[in-house]
């Protein structure tokens, strides 16, 4: 029915790396940068329940250890399809502007695609859109900096620096996914 949230996609991505229980997932979320998408039980467990209800993951009770039975999740065929479709989505200007975190999340799981050309395209488009974004921010600075207090101007500067850093990163990352046949 409805689309997973970023948290949902993060969880779906993690179970692609091997079957995991809710508790396992919580730990990974808490210990890595993925923690930005929350690691609290009040978010994780309902998110898993939603993924299961939508048929994107399959949960199996596991009593192998005599512990309280834990539920281990793995992606379903549909889950794999939805996930790779998400990974393969076009990179839009709006994404770069407002949802850069989601783009980075997608990139972090791009190995699931196992398609160097697709990742190359992703980074290429990301770099292009970041370039546009940086240019926009700079023209905003030019237009408005005279009328802004020093602090606001510097805050805008911070945005420019961060976006520029992302752009440099994307260009550097591109080198790792250059296609074998020189493709441009």
């Amino acid at each position: 029915m409805s689309e997973p949230t970023n948290l949902g996609y993060a969880l779906l991505g993690l179970v692609h790396q091997g079957p995991k229980s809710g508790y396992d997932l919580r730990k990974v979320m808490a210990e890595t940068a993925l923690g930005n998408y929350s690691s609290s039980p009040g978010a994780i467990y309902p998110a898993l329940a939603r993924l299961e209800k939508e048929g994107l993951v399959i949960g199996k009770e596991d009593r192998s250890t005599s512990l309280r039975p834990k539920k281990v999740y793995r992606p379903s065929a549909k889950g794999r399809k939805v996930f790779t479709a998400w990974l393969s989505r076009e990179v839009t200007g709006d994404d770069v502007n407002r949802h850069l975190d989601e783009l980075m999340l997608r990139f972090a799981f791009h190995d699931v695609l196992d398609d160097r050309a697709a990742t190359h395209r992703f980074l290429k488009e990301l770099a292009r859109q970041l370039q546009v974004f940086v240019t926009e921010l700079k023209s905003q600075r030019q237009r408005m900096s005279a009328s802004m207090p020093l602090q606001s101007r510097l805050a805008l500067e911070a945005g420019i620096e961060q976006a520029s850093a992302s752009l440099r990163w994307a260009r550097k990352a591109l080198r790792y996914f250059r296609d074998e046949r020189a493709e441009e």
Copy 2:
């Protein structure tokens, strides 16, 4: 009763720059980087209503132009106090990790404080915490990069680059707020 959200603080900050209607605020939000905190009427108008209910802003009907009366907001004394208290809050490690956006929002409005020493302290602490954060990310990279797919490793790298860019920016910005008497 309850604390304003980032959107609430953004609006409260904007009315410090001069009385503004909901529509004015929507325009500013839509046209600037503040747009990250939403510019949709379904967010702005309820947020303003909350600020008014909490006594942080005062809304006045304005019929000066014969238009449909528009409501113009300005901060109350309490609103100014709450706002400056927010601006003056300590910079914590958790903030840097998960709420860097809020820190930048606070900095962008720091001119309201009109206190160079306070802004200097803010940036100093921000730089310190960013340094800690970058170090943490780098040690995470060291510990885990061997077991991660190339893409995840690069995504972590992106986080490091962004945080480093913020750190460089904070150090540069510090120079603008050096206290007159050399204070360290």
